[in-house]
Amino acid sequence: MGLDLSPFAELVGPADQGPIWLAGQQSRLTAPSLVRQVTAPSGIFDLQPDEMTVVCGAGTSIAELQDSLTAVGQYVNLSRSNSGSGTVGGALATGRSDIYRLGRGAIRDTLLQARYVNQDGQVVSAGGPTVKNVSGFDLCRLLVGSLGQLGFLGEVILRTRPIPQCSRWFMINEARPETVEAILRRVYRPASVLWDGRKVWFCIEGNSHDCDQTIQQLATDLDRPTEVSGPPNLDNFPFRQSMPPAQLVEFVLSHINQKTDQILVEAGVGIVHRQSPAEPRVADPTVELLHQRLLRQFNPTGRLNPGISLASGSTV
């Protein structure tokens, strides 16, 4: 057993206590007015470098968690919100991976075990404490990205990873689609490849000598990459769009010919960072039916984080 979550569960209360909102740092979603708010427990309860796991409250700030992990040479694959840090629970509830997804994987694989409070105010455990586990159905995957509508995360066990020896960003001007393709093909497991239709930025992580050799080899065929301090500023791109990565080239070329606003795409992944919102998407009817069935099972009264659209991730 981990942290005593009964005080948190009592705050949430049983189903007849009406709508309730789990508030973090409100850096990703804003609480609606007139809905009672609770906050999840915070704090790092167990950090085991030799297990590559950390146990913490969902209300813990990501900045605090990363600082503690940095001290033992590790990090956790959780994205900070655009406006700053955000909480662990907020990052998991929104489920959006950061620009390093190409190399580091999706945020959803970070969550090993979750103890959450359900709509009846009961503490429920999902997943397991070890890095490998197929005991029962994978409820943790459903919780990541559920916007708190299946339950309020209280305590989580996260998988950590070693901080790479080096993490270096490079940029090539006048990058055509062939340049981006060459990077994806020839760089060994790049951490990130970002392209705005004109320039490409890419991140290589690992052994510093290997990084040097990779750049030397690339420079024989491409314009010599310039080392830069980091990726372009994503604050300029408050909106995002998701599409199959195979469609990115056509999309980017079409966009820069027709539109005036800028975009930045995650090559090999399929995320488009935009200055303006994309057209809303419509879920497949059977996917929508499964959503409704799951919500009926987990949040039949709709009291948990009311008013959020799972389809758009925004309050409605």
């Binding site: 995957r141 990205g145 290997d210």
Partner: protein, 482 residues
């Protein structure tokens, strides 16, 4: 070993309907034919009523619609290599074999994805994409014969999942036929499909949420350098502590496997690889990636091994030696047949720092039950695979094997571990689920099942213990061989 408790007369109307939507030769009812499908690679036997061999998604939909019409349970089956009874049909269920749906549909070598049919064999996929410099990372020991559809159902792992993650991390989308015959795409090639991660929920659901008919996999770039080393120790404790020390030093090798002395002896007698048979334990460590990183990590891991008392550190000098070392690991089960004709393979996970403590308890359990136990397992992620070897002709031995197995499970969970790391729950561990999960936890898992399969006909009676599985309440017959 018998499943008479489940015997029900075959519904001839159902068979007749199935033969209307499938060529009759692909609907098997002959007793000798369907007897082959009464179990998977576990020892848990059930009984198949009909075995169907669809070749297309629409045929799978037709079969499942007929099953829904007759309220007839169905079970998806790949190669039947599962070890927990997940594909064991009960009650004369309709078995839907994906064996004839085994095509590679398309590959995108730049974005490293491929669409495949579920019956494609794991190793075949890696062979098919090898010329692009790509591979499919999950590599269960059965990878020559297990299907990707089965890997999805079990969220399978393998020795090389330590660094790159298990199946769920490598599946982008599943086209799924639900229990009413409707078709849905869960996940997608796009990174953020709308709403909940239904893909992630489906993976590892052991056929209880529907049947996948197309799968989009993520492929990994092949490494340019690899080093494989074998280090041996005079105690299991020293080997286990080396595992923890490697991880604590910030390294995640591609593979980190352990074999104990009895296993080393059996394997060496089988393949003559020069294994250290007088060692208490040996670690097989593989590092892959770019050359400088591989060389540096090999040195650091060797230093850690020496600091923990490794007697010898053998680094494979060429591909032939590397293949020989891996042959030792991957043929361990074959080698064990030389000791006793039968084995019962367990699969639990414990925290790495508890490896030695739990292994010592496993030895004590085996000794108490007068059984031989060998250990060959994925030490890097704490995934134990104690092998209880026996001769089932010996009177009373099965009772001792089952009792020892249960104690191993209980000890693993009590040490902060979990019931299964890669084999799944199936029938084998269904009734142990309450060791890990309380009533509210199991209700939540049951709620997932109800949402995906409100009819309760997709591989019922598996994973969830009776009180949590609504109308699925069922017990394994006392005479079934678990």
């Amino acid at each position: 070993m018998k499943s008479d408790v489940y015997a029900q007369p075959l519904n001839q109307k159902l068979v007749s309907r199935l033969r209307q939507v499938l060529e009759p030769r692909r609907v098997h009812t002959d007793a000798a034919d369907i007897d082959l499908y009464k179990r998977d690679a576990s020892n848990i036997e059930g009984r198949a009523g009909v075995v169907c061999f669809p070749t297309t998604t629409s045929e799978v939909q037709d079969i499942i619609r007929i099953c829904a019409e007759f309220a007839q349970p169905f079970v998806a089956r790949g190669s039947g290599t599962g070890l927990a009874g997940g594909a064991t049909p009960l009650d004369g269920a309709v078995v839907i074999s994906t064996a004839k749906m085994n095509r590679l549909i398309s590959v995108d070598p730049i974005n490293r994805t491929a669409w495949i049919e579920p019956g494609m064999l794991n190793l075949d996929l890696t062979r098919e994409v090898a010329h692009f410099g790509l591979h499919f990372a999950p590599d269960p020991s059965s990878q020559q014969s297990c299907t990707i559809g089965g890997n999805v159902a079990n969220n399978s792992g393998g020795p090389h999942c330590l660094a790159d993650g298990v199946t769920s991390s490598h599946i982008l989308a599943c086209e799924v036929v639900l229990s009413d015959g409707s078709l849905v795409l869960l996940g997608g090639e796009e990174p953020e499909p709308i709403g909940l991660d239904l893909r992630g929920a489906f993976i590892g659901s052991e056929g209880m949420f529907g049947i996948t008919t197309k799968i989009c996999v993520r492929l990994m770039q092949n490494y340019s350098a690899v080093k494989t080393m074998l280090m041996d120790f005079t105690s299991v404790q020293a080997g286990a502590e080396t595992v923890s020390a490697i991880i604590a030093a910030g390294m995640v090798p591609a593979a980190l496997e352990m074999m104990d002395q009895l296993c080393l002896e059996a394997v060496e007698a089988y393949i003559h690889a020069g294994l250290p048979t007088d060692a208490a334990a040996a670690l097989l460590v593989e590092v892959s990636g770019l050359p400088n990183a591989v060389n540096e990590e090999t040195e650091r891991i060797s230093d850690i091994g020496r600091a923990h008392g490794a007697r010898t550190i053998r680094v494979a000098q060429d591909e032939a030696e590397r293949a020989l070392l891996w042959k030792g690991r991957k043929t361990a089960f074959g080698a064990i047949a030389r000791i006793k004709p039968n084995y019962y393979l367990h699969d639990t996970v414990v925290p790495r720092r508890k490896l030695n403590e739990v292994l010592q308890e496993v030895y004590r359990i085996a000794s108490r039950h007068d059984l031989l136990v060998l250990n060959v397992f994925h030490a890097g992620d704490g995934n134990l695979h104690p092998l209880l070897v026996f001769d089932k002709r010996e009177p009373g031995v099965m009772e001792r094997v089952l009792a020892a197995g249960e104690e191993i499970i209980r000890v693993s969970v009590a040490a902060g571990g979990v019931l299964s790391g890669e084999h799944g729950i199936g029938l084998e561990k269904r009734d142990f689920m309450p060791l890990m999960f309380g009533p509210h936890d199991l209700e939540a898992q049951s709620a997932m099942r109800v949402a995906f399969d409100p009819l309760g006909i997709a591989n019922p009676f598996k994973v969830l213990p009776s009180p949590s599985s609504c109308g699925d309440a069922h017990n394994i017959g006392e005479d079934m061989w678990v």
